[in-house]
C-alpha cells in the first residue's frame, strides 16, 4: 500500500479493499521502523491518527465519504495543530502545544483525512537543505548522504520514502518545489492568496504559501481542492471561487505554448539537470506543444530582493517569540531585557538569527529606502517580467534547482546556500503558482522540472504536469530505501 498514489488509495478505500485504519496502521508501522534513518518526522501522532481513521471508516460506512475520506497524510510542523506540539523546527517552540488548528488543518480534517504527524523542516522555514532544524537534518531517501532540500524537507522525504502518500508543505522561496525536486516527488506552490495562511507560522508573510506535496499531479489536484479558498481569518486570502482542479487534468496539450526563460539555463546549471529538463521539454513537444525562448530580464535581482524583503518581514514576525507568553524562556531572568536576550539567544538557531539581523538592519532608519523600498520596486519589475512572458506563452518551464540534491554539510556558506533558490524565488516575489515534477535523474539523485503559470492558473499547471506523468514514469520511480525496507 505504501507506494500507491493518493488517487489509488482513494479507490482502494472506496472499493473496500482496505480500511483507513488498516492503511493508517500500515504507514504508522513503516514510520516506526524506517524513520529513525530519515528523521522526516518531528512528531508522530499515532493515537489521534487512529481515532481519525476510525471516524473516517465510520463516515464511509454511513455513505458520507468525500473524495479524501480516510486518506493519510502528514503536516509540515509549521501548521498549528490543536493539542499537538507545533515546533516550526525550532527550540523556541519545542514546548509549544498549539491551542487551535490552522485553517488548512481544519479543512483537511473536515475532508476526512488522517494526519499521521508533523514533519521536519528548516527552523521557521529558513533554509534550503533541512539542515537548520533543531531536530537534526533529514536524509534524502534516494541517497542518505544527500540533503532532501528545504525547508519542507521532512514532508518531501516522507512522501518519497513511502511513509505517507502526501504531505503539506509551505513555500516562501522554493520550500515546496526544491525539496520535491530533490526527493523525486510532485510539489505545488499555489498562487499567493489561494490557500489560507491562518495558523501557518509566518516566516515572510507576503511570500508564504501552503501547498500539497505528493506522488503525482493528480494527487496534488485532489488535495488543493480541499485546501484552497477564501478564509475570513486571513485578509490576504483571495475571495475567488475554487475550480475543480481535477476537471482540467486531461486537457490536451495540443497547441500549448511553452516558454523557456533563457535566464534559467545559464551559468551554474548542472549539465545533467539541464539535460533532463530539456528532454522533458521534448516530451511536451512530442505531445503537440510548441516551445520558444523567453526572457525574464530581472531574474538576477530576485535573490537580492528576496533577501531584503523576507528577512525584513521575518524580523518583525519573529518578535513575538520573546519568552513572555509561550515558547522557550531562559532560566532565572534578572529583568525583562535579560529575559528577551537570553530566551531568544537560546531559542533561535544561527540561520534564524542571521535573518533577524539582516531584516532588522534593512528596516532601520536611514536604510529603509535603500533596501526595503528598493527591493519592493524590484519586486514589481520581477512580477512584470512574468506578466509580460505570459502574454506570449501559456506556461514557463525550467529546472526547479540548478543542481540535484547536494551532500549533507556541503553548503556551509550561507550565500551559496541562498543561490540554490535562484529558479524558485522569483515566483514567490511575483505571487504566481509553480509546480515541480520528477523529470529524470542526475546520477542517483532526482531532477525536478519546474512549470510556472500565471496567477490562479493552478488547474492549467496541474493538467500540464499530469499529461507529462501520463507519458513518463519518473514519478513512479521509488528509492531503494523504500523498496528494500518494505
Amino acid at each position: 500500500m505504501h507506494d500507491k498514489t493518493l488517487t489509488e488509495l482513494a479507490t482502494g478505500l472506496s472499493a473496500g479493499e482496505f480500511s483507513s485504519r488498516e492503511l493508517t496502521q500500515e504507514l504508522l508501522g513503516r514510520i516506526d521502523r524506517l524513520d529513525g534513518r530519515l528523521n522526516s518526522f518531528i512528531s508522530v501522532t499515532a493515537k489521534p491518527a487512529l481515532s481519525a481513521a476510525d471516524r473516517a471508516d465510520a463516515t464511509r460506512a454511513d455513505g458520507q465519504a468525500g473524495p479524501l475520506n480516510g486518506l493519510p497524510l502528514a503536516l509540515k510542523d509549521i501548521f498549528c495543530t490543536r493539542g499537538v506540539r507545533t515546533s516550526c523546527g525550532s527550540r523556541m517552540l519545542d514546548n509549544f502545544v498549539a491551542p487551535y488548528d490552522a485553517t488548512i488543518v481544519e479543512k483537511l480534517s473536515e475532508a476526512g483525512t488522517v494526519s499521521l504527524g508533523k514533519t521536519n523542516m528548516d527552523e521557521f522555514a529558513m533554509g534550503s537543505s533541512n539542515e537548520n532544524s533543531f531536530y537534526g537534518p533529514v536524509k534524502n531517501p534516494w541517497d542518505p548522504s544527500a540533503v532532501p532540500g528545504g525547508s519542507s524537507g521532512g514532508s518531501a522525504a516522507a512522501v518519497a520514502a513511502g511513509l505517507v502518500p502526501a504531505a503539506m508543505g509551505t513555500d516562501t522561496g522554493g520550500s515546496i518545489r526544491q525539496p520535491a525536486a530533490f526527493c523525486g516527488i510532485t510539489g505545488l506552490k499555489p498562487t499567493y492568496g489561494r490557500v489560507s495562511r491562518y495558523g501557518m507560522i509566518a516566516y515572510a508573510s507576503s511570500l508564504d504559501q501552503a501547498g500539497p506535496m505528493a506522488r503525482s499531479a493528480a494527487d496534488c489536484a485532489l488535495l488543493l481542492g480541499a485546501m484552497a479558498g477564501h478564509d475570513g481569518r486571513d485578509s490576504t486570502s483571495v475571495a475567488r471561487g475554487v475550480p475543480d482542479y481535477q476537471s482540467e487534468l486531461d486537457a490536451p496539450l495540443n497547441g500549448l505554448k511553452i516558454g523557456l526563460p533563457v535566464e534559467y539555463f545559464g551559468d551554474g546549471l548542472d549539465p545533467a539537470v539541464e539535460a533532463a529538463v530539456r528532454e522533458a521539454v521534448q516530451v511536451y513537444e512530442s505531445l503537440g506543444a510548441t516551445v520558444r525562448e523567453v526572457s525574464l530580464p530581472h531574474t538576477h535581482y530576485a535573490i537580492p530582493a528576496y533577501y531584503v524583503i523576507a528577512p525584513a518581514e521575518a524580523s518583525s514576525n519573529l518578535s513575538r517569540f520573546d519568552g513572555v507568553r509561550f515558547g522557550h524562556r531562559c532560566e532565572a531572568p534578572t529583568d525583562l531585557i535579560d529575559l528577551y536576550k537570553r530566551s531568544r539567544a537560546e531559542g533561535f538557531g544561527d540561520e534564524v538569527k542571521r535573518r533577524i539581523l539582516i531584516g532588522t538592519h534593512t528596516l532601520s532608519e536611514g536604510f529603509f529606502d535603500a533596501y526595503y523600498k528598493k527591493a519592493q520596486q524590484v519586486r514589481r519589475l520581477i512580477r512584470q517580467d512574468f506578466l509580460d512572458a505570459f502574454e506570449e506563452v501559456d506556461v514557463l518551464m525550467g529546472p526547479a534547482s540548478p543542481t540535484p540534491a547536494f551532500d549533507l554539510g556541503a553548503n556551509k556558506d550561507p550565500v551559496s546556500m541562498y543561490l540554490q533558490d535562484i529558479y524558485t524565488i522569483a515566483v514567490n516575489l511575483a505571487g504566481i503558482p509553480g509546480i515541480s515534477v520528477p523529470a529524470g535523474f542526475a546520477g542517483n539523485r532526482p531532477v525536478g522540472l519546474q512549470i510556472l503559470g500565471t496567477h490562479f492558473a493552478e488547474a492549467q499547471l496541474l493538467g500540464v504536469a499530469h499529461q507529462f506523468q501520463q507519458n513518463t514514469d519518473w514519478h513512479l520511480r521509488r528509492p531503494a530505501f523504500a523498496e528494500e525496507s518494505a
Binding site: 501548521f79 498549528c80 507545533t86 516550526c88 517552540l93 509549544f96 498549539a98 491551542p99 487551535y100 490552522a102 495562511r197 491562518y198 495558523g199 501557518m200 507560522i201 509566518a202 515572510a204 508573510s205 507576503s206 475570513g232 481569518r233 486571513d234 485578509s235 490576504t236 525584513a312 518581514e313 524580523s315 518583525s316 519573529l318 518578535s319 513575538r320 517569540f321 520573546d322 513572555v324 507568553r325 509561550f326 515558547g327 525583562l336 528577551y340 532588522t360 528596516l363 532601520s364 532608519e365 529603509f368 526595503y372
Partner: protein, 488 residues
C-alpha cells in the same frame, strides 16, 4: 524677555467598537485580566489580523467631522519594539498613509472668541495591554484585555499658544468624538489620553524651540497643569543659560511636575514597514458620502445655530453645545417650552447648580427635559411665578410629584402654588394690607412722587406674603400703584 509657548497635541481616542480592531474579542472595560484576549490578541504563532470595519467607519466619521481629507487608500504599518505588554513585538499602526489627512478643529475660549487649530492627520492603531505590579510579590503581571482595542490617534499642528488653548482643543476633540458617538470619551478609564509637545521661543522668533513630549496625560486639568509646569521649566532653564533637550517626559499629577523619561538618544528605532498581513484600506466615494450624509450636527455648527438662530449669547451657546448630552437636553427643554432663553437660563442655572452640587452628569439628572420644559411653560403662561417655580423645581429634584412629563402641574396643584390672577382677589388682599399699614401709607403719601416707586416694594412684599407667594407679581404691582396713588 517675552516668551511664546508652542503646543501640539497627540490625542489617543479609544473607539467605541464592540470588538477589537483586528480580532473578534470584546472591548468591554473592567473584565478579569486576560479574559478578553483571544489567540489573535495574544499574538499566538500563526494568527492573522482582520480589520474591524466599524473602526474604519468611526475614523472616517471623525475625519468628516473635522473637515479633513479622506484619502482613497490608507495603509497599516508595523511599529516594531519590544515590551512585555506588546504581544507581537510590534504595534499595528498607520505611519505613512493614515486614514484621515489634514483637517481643522474650532475651539472656543473663555472670552467667547473662537480659533481654528489644524489637525495634521489622524490614524488608526491598536492599543497595547498593560502591566500590573500590585499583589504579584515583586513580579509583573500582564493583562492583555486592552491589547487590540482600536485607537484613533489625532495629531494636531503646533498651533496652540497657551495651556488654556490646549485644554480647549482637547475639550473640542472630546466633544466631537462624543457627538459622533465614536468614543465614550471617558478619560478616567483611559478612553481618551494625550501626549503633549511643548516648546518655547522668544516672542517674534519664527523658528520653533526644542520641544519636550509629555506622555500620557489623562485629564483636561492635568493637560493645563503639565503645560504650565513645563513652560516654566523650559523658560527658567533657558534664562539660566541652559538648553532644552529633546526628550520624553512624564507628568506626575501628585507632585505636579514633569520628569524626564528618556532622551532622544535613547529613543527606539521603530523600523516601520507596511504590514504584509493587511490589505490597504480602499474607501470608495459612495461609502464616504454615505457616512457624510449621516453625520449628526457637530458642536461648532450647533454652537453657531444656538447663537444665531436661537439668539443665545456666545457664552451660553458654547456651554450648552459643549457636550452632545447637554445640547440634546437643552433642545428638548426648549422644544417643550418654546423659549430658548428661558430654557438656557434654567438649564445653566437651577439644573446645572443642582447637578454640580450632587456631582451628577446631565445623563443622571433626576429631572427630565420634558419635566423642566413644562415647568418653564407654566412660568411663561403665568400659571406660577418665578419664585414658586424654583420651589417646584426643588420638589421635582427630590422626586416629588413623580417623573411623568407633567409632574410640574401635579406639584403646582398639590402645593397650591397656582398663581392668583383674579384681580378681585388681589384687590381684596391689597385693601387689607393698606388697611393694616397706615404708617407706611402715610410715608408713601408724603414722599416725593419719584421716590414712591421704591417705597412700593414694601407693599408688594406684604401682598405676596398674604398670598403665600401665589399672587401674580406684575398684577400686584400695577394694582397697588393704582390704589396707593388714589390715596395721595
Amino acid at each position: 524677555m517675552q516668551w511664546e509657548t508652542v503646543i501640539g497635541l497627540e490625542v489617543h481616542v479609544q473607539l467605541a467598537t464592540r470588538s477589537k480592531i483586528f480580532s473578534g474579542a470584546s472591548t468591554a472595560f473592567g473584565a478579569e485580566p486576560n479574559s478578553q484576549a483571544c489567540a489573535v490578541d495574544l499574538g499566538l504563532p500563526g494568527v492573522l489580523p482582520v480589520l474591524n470595519e466599524s473602526a474604519v467607519a468611526m475614523a472616517v466619521q471623525f475625519g468628516l467631522g473635522v473637515n479633513a481629507e479622506i484619502p482613497e487608500v490608507s495603509v497599516f504599518d508595523r511599529k516594531n519594539y519590544f515590551y512585555a505588554d506588546l504581544p507581537k513585538g510590534y504595534q499595528t499602526s498607520q505611519m505613512y498613509q493614515p486614514i484621515v489627512e489634514a483637517g481643522e478643529v474650532e475651539i472656543s475660549l473663555e472670552d467667547g472668541s473662537t480659533r481654528h487649530i489644524r489637525v495634521h492627520h489622524a490614524h488608526l492603531e491598536e492599543d497595547a495591554g498593560k502591566s500590573l505590579h500590585e499583589d504579584l510579590h515583586g513580579m509583573t503581571g500582564i493583562d492583555l484585555n486592552r491589547a487590540g482595542t482600536p485607537l484613533l490617534e489625532i495629531v494636531s499642528e503646533p498651533d496652540m499658544r497657551s495651556a488654556k488653548e490646549a485644554a480647549a482643543y482637547l475639550k473640542a476633540i472630546h466633544s466631537i468624538v462624543t457627538y459622533l458617538g465614536i468614543s465614550d470619551g471617558n478619560m478616567a478609564e483611559g478612553s481618551m489620553r494625550c501626549d503633549v509637545n511643548v516648546s518655547v521661543r522668544p516672542r517674534g522668533q519664527e523658528a520653533f524651540g526644542t520641544r519636550a513630549e509629555i506622555k500620557n496625560v489623562n485629564s483636561f486639568r492635568f493637560v493645563e497643569r503639565a503645560i504650565e509646569f513645563e513652560v516654566e521649566r523650559q523658560i527658567e532653564l533657558i534664562e539660566d543659560g541652559g538648553e532644552v533637550v529633546q526628550e520624553t517626559r512624564l507628568y506626575d499629577p501628585e507632585a505636579d511636575e514633569t520628569r524626564s523619561m528618556r532622551t532622544k538618544e535613547e529613543a527606539n528605532d521603530y523600523r516601520y514597514f507596511p504590514c504584509p498581513d493587511l490589505l490597504p484600506v480602499v474607501l470608495d466615494q459612495a461609502y464616504v458620502d454615505h457616512l457624510r450624509a449621516n453625520l449628526p450636527e457637530l458642536p461648532a455648527d450647533k454652537r453657531a445655530r444656538f447663537q444665531h438662530e436661537l439668539g443665545l449669547s456666545a457664552y451660553d451657546a458654547g456651554v450648552l453645545s459643549a457636550s452632545r448630552a447637554m445640547a440634546e437636553y437643552f433642545e428638548r427643554v426648549r422644544n417643550t417650552c418654546g423659549d430658548a432663553k428661558q430654557a438656557a437660563n434654567w438649564v445653566q442655572g437651577e439644573l446645572s447648580g443642582a447637578l454640580n452640587r450632587e456631582g451628577l452628569t446631565i445623563d443622571d439628572s433626576p429631572v427630565s427635559a420634558e419635566q423642566l420644559g413644562l415647568l418653564i411653560t407654566r412660568v411663561l403662561d403665568d400659571t406660577i411665578n418665578g419664585k414658586a417655580a424654583k420651589d417646584v423645581f426643588q420638589a421635582m429634584w427630590q422626586g416629588e410629584g413623580g417623573n411623568a412629563d407633567n409632574s410640574a402641574d401635579t406639584l403646582i396643584e398639590a402645593k397650591g402654588l397656582k398663581q392668583v390672577t383674579d384681580s378681585g382677589a388681589i384687590e381684596a388682599m391689597i385693601d387689607q394690607v393698606i388697611a393694616e399699614s397706615p404708617a407706611q401709607v402715610a410715608q408713601y403719601r408724603d414722599a416725593e412722587p419719584e421716590k414712591r416707586g421704591k417705597m412700593i416694594g414694601y407693599f408688594v412684599g406684604q401682598v405676596m406674603k398674604a398670598s403665600r407667594g401665589t399672587a401674580n407679581p406684575q398684577q400686584v404691582n400695577g394694582l397697588l400703584k393704582e390704589k396707593l396713588d388714589a390715596l395721595c
